[in-house]
Amino acid sequence: MTSSWPLANYQPERELVRGLCATGCDRRILLLRGASGVGKTSLLGACVEDLVARDGEIFCCPLDLRGSSIDGIFSGLSSRLGRDRLPRLEADMAADHSVRVSMDDVRLLGKDQQINVNLPASAGPEDRRRRIEARTERIFDDLRALPRPLVMSIDHYEKASGEVSDWIEGSLLGRVSNVEQLRVVVAGQTVPEPSSVWGRCWQQRELYGVKEADDWLPVVEGMGKQLPTGQSGWLAGVCHALEGHPGKIMKLIVNLPDRGSIH
């Protein structure tokens, strides 16, 4: 869902994200797990808006793992924090070179075409792993020197490739306990399996949607919509029928008549 829609409830979870910004925060990993459609992306979107509003106190880096690579994550951090704050990473990335993949025999609709994509090159699987490990070391050296906390907000964990999820579980979250400035929120239908290496610095919340009609009333009002008249239990019925799934409930709310359009 887009964050342009008002968010129903999830106040306790928003508080937990705000708590990540506190100085000396000891639970620096927050895992938010929930089925598709319970509103994880909306929740993270709202939290990111909160965090961005605190620019000057913290850095915030939202990452969407759909179609993402580790190089994409590094680039995302670089563009969000600014190259000057990640000098070691920047020096390392400057040495990259890419190679063109060409796919011939692309005949569609009677036309011949060729697919061309530029991808980073490696000397082998080990070289690729080495490059990622080395780059991770550099980025963590940079992160330790940040003047204020960085909150990484990672969405769609279940869509991460094996390489990215391995990196997040091992290289990223495994180092959070040693880097005071780093705070990480991971949301998804699945989330990383907590490891003893993380120490005690993590917490997890399950999201089940927003099932109370009272939580949706302000959304209906905020959007200037009119509930069906004479049906006091309508919204509660919808919440029950749709098991509190925000995406589905919003499909109905958005098509309610505008307030004042029915007399």
Binding site: M1, R66, G72, I115, G162, W234, K251
Partner: protein, 538 residues
């Protein structure tokens, strides 16, 4: 609103029916062009104005006016760097419906999407998305591309496992919704299994590869590749006889289709199986045959791997000088082709050779050199292995304190990487260096037991079939448990008699008649087993 959707929802009998009713009702509220745009936008994983125009087969200028309304729908969300997407629940509902009610339309929309991705292939993700749409637009060609694009991406110079993973995940969406023909399902499972193996999810890899066999697809390359991969997984799972059967089956198909590299890889792999089963003469013959095949097709890495393996076999036959010559020759080839891992492995093997000949200072220098290379390669587990060997050198030199430091460093790496079997082995060595009956020793035993339990769970095998569990029980003085576990390991083929006989972990039980009888029983049943030094020049 025309009627009350709540009443429709209450009447729905299944969640799927409810989702469709809700989506249908929501679509009914839209104008015709916007409704058509929603159906089209559901085809790709993400869309922008150009793609939407291509899908609707209209000029972008005409479609542009729909974008604000479309992207404001509650089930349309921004997609990082790529535009927008229909939320996965709604998308799945729409695609399932379209597949059932208007398959030609689905194929036509997919054809347009594939064509657009091919035209606009410089954009991130379009290569993978192109294959995804082709699988529906032209199923056979899509399956061909699933095979060839996956192969290109996972090989030199890219090793782009992330893109292979994304491609397999996208293809799986079609497969799990029943939209793929069997060849497409087979290649989807193959790439998923390939990644499972790379990321150490061996049991999951095996399950998927076995499902390919059940499909009975008439695609010899898929049959050969999946059998070869299944053999690799079974070898890692120490299921040697199954691995051999898979490799032999794959070898036959590779020969039929004239794939010399596939053939050489299978012969080499059969050599590995023989080595694991101590059939060292047979292993040597396989490696020599594979070496010839690799040289014939000019595969230098395969050639170097064979020379290294032949050196290992020479060492097992105590033909030390031949082994040394082979290792040195393999190093040259690895250096020529820039394989630092191969180079490090050879240096480590030379270190092993020196250590077995009590040339301790030379062994130490070799291990330190290998350690440096492994460190540069960024693989901590390989570093841990050679660190532990430095511990062995220090121990052989009587420097227990230095040895303990090496073993502790190796254990710390294994602990961090959750390499539980290797961790348990390090902990047992450390326990053997601790005062007998001390709290320190008890703590090490305890942690080793926990690590082994985790390992058994990961491998989905009984704890008793882990050789290190048998060793731990022997260390702890639990003789019945130790012998019971050793018997299970010997029966499962997880350890060979010659190894137990030279393993110092069993020193305390060496004269126990039950151990002697057990080893005698399995010694006689070993087929063509070769102990080190039993044959050859040594």
């Amino acid at each position: 609103m025309i009627d009350d959707p709540l009443e429709r929802l209450k009447a729905a009998k299944t969640p799927e029916e409810r989702d469709w009713l809700l989506t249908e009702w929501s679509l009914e509220q839209l104008s015709g062009p916007l409704r058509a745009a929603v159906w089209a936008a559901a085809i790709p994983h993400w869309f922008d104005l150009e793609l939407l125009a291509a899908l609707l087969d209209q000029p972008a200028a005409e479609v542009e006016g729909l974008m604000p309304e479309l992207t404001a729908l509650p089930y349309v969300e921004p997609y990082r760097d790529r535009g927008h997407n229909v939320h996965e629940n709604t998308r799945e509902t729409l695609l399932d419906r379209l597949w059932v009610t208007d398959r030609p339309r689905y194929r036509e929309l997919s054809r347009r999407a594939a064509e657009h991705c091919a035209k606009d292939s410089g954009k991130p993700g379009n290569l993978v998305e192109w294959v995804y749409h082709l699988l529906i637009a032209e199923p056979d060609k899509g399956a061909d591309k699933l095979c060839s694009v996956g192969s290109t991406l996972q090989n030199s110079p890219f090793y782009a496992f992330d893109l292979v993973g994304e491609m397999a995940a996208f293809a799986h969406e079609h497969a799990s919704s029943g939209r793929l023909e069997e060849r497409g399902v087979g290649w989807t499972l193959f790439w998923q299994a390939h990644l499972d193996e790379i990321y150490d999810r061996r049991t999951a890899a095996r399950e998927k590869l076995l499902r390919i066999a059940e499909l009975e697809v008439a695609d010899p390359r898929l049959t050969a590749n999946s059998n070869k991969r299944l053999g690799d997984v079974e070898l890692l799972l120490t299921d040697y006889e199954s691995a051999r059967a898979r490799y032999e089956s794959a070898l036959e198909v590779y020969r039929e289709i004239g794939d010399r590299l596939g053939e050489a890889n299978c012969i080499w792999a059969l050599g590995q199986v023989d080595r694991m089963l101590s059939r060292n003469e047979s292993a040597r013959a396989r490696y020599e045959s594979a070496l010839e095949a690799y040289r014939e097709i000019g595969d230098r890495l395969g050639e170097a791997n064979c020379i290294l393996a032949l050196g290992d076999v020479d060492r097992l036959f105590s033909d030390h000088e031949s082994a040394r010559a082979r290792y040195e020759s393999a190093i040259e080839v690895y250096r020529e082709i820039g394989s630092r891992r191969g180079e490090a492995n050879c240096i480590g093997a030379l270190g092993d050779l020196d250590l077995s000949l009590t040339q301790h200072m030379s062994a130490r220098a070799r291990y330190e050199s290998a350690l440096k290379l492994y460190h540069q390669l960024g693989n901590p587990v390989w570093e841990a292995g050679v660190t532990s060997k430095l511990g062995d050198v220090a121990r052989a030199l009587g420097d227990d304190e230095s040895a303990r430091g090496h073993y502790q460093r190796a254990a710390a790496i294994y602990r961090r990487r959750q390499a539980d079997d290797a961790l348990s082995a390090q902990l047992l060595i450390l326990a053997s260096l601790s005062p007998e009956g001390s709290t320190e020793q008890a703590g090490l035993f305890e942690e080793a037991a926990e690590a082994l339990e985790r390992e058994a769970t990961k491998r989905q095998k009984p704890l008793e079939e882990l050789y290190n569990y048998a060793c731990l029980s022997a260390f702890r003085g639990d003789v019945d448990k130790a012998l019971g576990s050793l018997e299970a390991c010997l029966e499962a083929g997880n350890v060979e008699v010659w190894w137990v006989e030279q393993d110092s972990d069993w020193e305390g039980l060496r004269s126990d008649p039950r151990l002697i009888a057990l080893l005698d029983r399995f010694r006689t049943t070993e087929t063509a087993g070769q102990e080190p030094g039993q044959d050859g020049s040594g």
